[in-house]
Symmetry: C2
Subunit: 298 residues, 2 copies
Amino acid sequence: MNKEEIRDWFKELQDDICGQIESADGSGKFKEDNWDRLNGGGGRTRVIENGSVIEKGGVNFSAVYGATPQKILDALKLDQADFFATGVSIVMHPSSPMVPIIHMNVRYFEMSNGISWFGGGIDLTPHYVDKEDARYFHKTMKAVCDRHHPDYYKEFKNWADDYFYVKHRNETRGIGGIFFDRLSAKGDIFMEDRWAFVQEVGQVFAPIYTHLMTKNKNLPFGENEKKWQFLRRGRYVEFNLVLDKGTKFGLDTDGRTESILMSLPPQANWVYDYQPTEGSNEAETLSLLKKGINWTRE
Amino acid sequence: MNKEEIRDWFKELQDDICGQIESADGSGKFKEDNWDRLNGGGGRTRVIENGSVIEKGGVNFSAVYGATPQKILDALKLDQADFFATGVSIVMHPSSPMVPIIHMNVRYFEMSNGISWFGGGIDLTPHYVDKEDARYFHKTMKAVCDRHHPDYYKEFKNWADDYFYVKHRNETRGIGGIFFDRLSAKGDIFMEDRWAFVQEVGQVFAPIYTHLMTKNKNLPFGENEKKWQFLRRGRYVEFNLVLDKGTKFGLDTDGRTESILMSLPPQANWVYDYQPTEGSNEAETLSLLKKGINWTRE
């Protein structure tokens, strides 16, 4: 396992995921943009728009390197060193409000001073929380985690709950999932073990999401559900632009704006002080957008 | 001039502006929400939705006080002191893409240690830059500035160019205007002089914007212009959530979220890597979203 192998594996993962998404979508095709980073490396952005199921989504691969940006050095309290970073980032906005938004990221970072780590995760943002889907999603994530370490699911599920919490709305972005960062070798866990785990997170993404696409894409909905979807997407925009560290870091360090902001939805709405009717499906969903729900118990 | 007089004047300004906007709109009415701040003070939020001209807008008054938030103390490198802050903040999103978005803010801040200042400004964000309107707007702002200090327009126009610059898009939010902050007594300029200037900025807002509403509200437009408007509103969202210091500060310090985010448009869209056709009105507008244009020359 070295950085070139990781990079090449991520690139193949992008191919694999795009193929599975296109197949489940049925009509949408990814458009590819290759880009170079001024100071080293580049990426392969793939965006799908106006498919049968996916209205707008991106599956981005990048591998960049060079002098470590000052912001990272400051955060780590380190002197100048070169860095290498590679990963795959995904956000999918379906056209139907009955299909959830999903986000996935797997990434590897190393520096010339020997520091290296993995990060990533998968989290689900249903416009309407379907409890069966939520249990399926979390149980699948737990199964992946459990194959690698008995503490992973609990730790990374809580991390996702905290990371995707939108304080100014007092709600979580969606039903969470798993989130992890700076996973290095530790105790009896080697980098190879971390890598095996990250690979499995990457591989489980497409089966999970194509299942949720296929299961929900033909459910009926009307104006009311579309209106709610646009408001929920507004919250998604708020999280991504106000709170998401990856977005902020990318914009701060002159990343490729169109690749970073592929995460934004095709349309988002804001209505002043919108309150769903008591007892409605919208109100039930809001009641489930909180930390600490155990979706794997039953 | 003391803080109570300033607060009361701002509150009357809110009344006056709401009246003039309602009158120019013809059918929209402001809805009022009074709110209390947990640690002292509160505000009067007024939002208009689905008027004849204004699709969504807010004219907010607030007067808050208490222990100075740690973030301000850190920024100013000061020890604990009480603060008092009052102001009026406005954002208007018209339904027609031919009517510009506008933003205005006037504010006063003082601390128990004797520090005090004014801040604020007015800036215009046309979906399509109309050069005649741009010149009218900047010449009006210059006239206001010139009545108070020969350096004000140049200084505050450049400040707006810098403040409303969206680095990750390499464009300005709109055609700028004036922006100023931390205006205290200095040399032969007394706080009373600053206050007279800030009052005139507040008073000129409604005549400017009702003129632009009335002049442009009946201009024809089609699907193409609506599509562009939604994309430009997307950029507005990006500025407000990624860069605007007032928004960030408000969300960070537990301000009233619905009052802060009244600035967001009713609908915003994102299309991956959208490029306007060469020679189109959209391309011309983009070419004018840059710093350093002198709109008062002719």
